[in-house]
């Protein structure tokens, strides 16, 4: 095996293991929101995109309805559409049926792995190795988290209640960190989203305030001129 090939595999599997740990948090959050372990597992198997899954159970857990839960999950899922556009030339899936299979693994992490690979052959390898590792661990750890949370006492439940917002913060954090493009505007939009959600909480049905927070995207303004690619 070439050095580039083993480095690609090592990165992909390493990231997969790290991300798989999030699955425990998701499984626990899903259980807190009232999903059965089987429903938590079905979310991870079928949705397989962490932020959307967390949003779905977050809105349901806050007492939100189906429309608000689905709306926030799908809005977050639009990211993956843009990733697909970037990945299509790298993955080179000419056949329709290949694309139908590949699409399920188009997420933040597999995209990051594929676009940072040195050439399309390694990009495809990184995508598949990362996708397989993350998919396997994410589902296994989801089930473990959901089953574990179901057996908790009141103090452990209070601990879990504090873990869920921390997990959302950890998902958000990289976007607020210095190296992220236009980090100042990302921070402004995040602050706006939080303020809108809290301000609307007393006056709208549960979950709707999360969807309404999308209005904070307007704070991003127009793109800077140099980012026209």
């Amino acid at each position: 095996m070439s050095a580039a090939r083993s480095a690609t595999l090592r990165d992909a599997i390493g990231l997969g293991v790290a991300v798989g740990l999030y699955g425990v948090a998701f499984g626990a959050a899903a259980a807190t929101a009232g999903l059965s372990p089987l429903q938590a597992l079905a979310s991870s198997l079928l949705m397989f995109t962490g932020a959307s899954q967390f949003a779905l159970v977050g809105v349901l857990g806050a007492g939100g309805g189906a429309a608000a839960a689905l709306g926030s999950a799908l809005l977050l899922g639009t990211r993956n559409t843009l990733y697909g556009v970037r990945l299509a030339p790298l993955l080179g899936d000419r056949g329709r049926w290949r694309r139908v299979g590949t699409a399920h693994w188009v997420i933040d992490e597999t995209t990051a792995l594929a676009v940072s690979a040195p050439d399309p052959a390694h990009a495809r390898l990184a995508f598949l190795a990362g996708g397989a590792t993350i998919f396997t661990l994410w589902n296994a750890t989801t089930l473990a988290g959901a089953l574990g949370a179901a057996a908790l006492g009141p103090t452990a439940k209070a601990a879990l209640d504090a873990v869920v917002p921390a997990a959302f913060l950890a998902l958000l954090w990289p976007r607020l960190r210095g190296a992220f493009p236009e980090v100042g505007r990302q921070r402004l939009v995040a602050l706006g989203g939080a303020v809108i959600a809290l301000a609307l909480t007393p006056v709208v049905p549960p979950g709707v305030q999360v969807i309404a927070a999308v209005a904070a995207v307007a704070l991003a303004g127009r793109p800077p001129r140099e980012v026209t690619s």
């Binding site: 429903q39 979310s43 079928l46 806050a62 977050l76 639009t78 913060l169 959600a197 127009r222």
Partner: protein, 104 residues
């Protein structure tokens, strides 16, 4: 929500998220790469995730609530700023939440 309702939401979410992924691989790039579409998609996660942080940490139903969750969130923010690994961040937040529960 009823058990059947939860299943419907999970299955519809799965189908919708999959179709969004498939669309990216399938539709002509020019359809998606309009400036305002990419602009919105780049910033939607920040707005929604921050809203979810706020709602999960500081609300209960239609009320604003201050409890151990907010303390856990503050602890998590400090841990993230110190570049602690994800699992450490969650454990610290959970311990803080449990402590407040025990003390209160």
């Amino acid at each position: 929500m009823s058990n059947a309702g939860l299943w419907a939401v999970v299955l519809a979410g799965g189908l919708g998220c999959y179709l969004l992924k498939l669309a990216g691989l399938s539709v002509p790039a020019a359809w998606v790469q309009r400036p305002w579409v990419t602009r919105v998609a780049e910033f939607v996660p920040a707005a929604l995730l921050a809203a979810l942080v706020a709602v999960q940490a500081a609300t209960s139903g239609d009320r604003l609530v201050l409890d151990g969750r907010l303390v856990g969130l503050a602890v998590a923010a400090v841990a993230l700023a110190l570049r602690a690994p994800f699992i450490v961040v969650l454990v610290l937040a959970g311990v803080a939440g449990a402590l407040v529960h025990v003390l209160a």
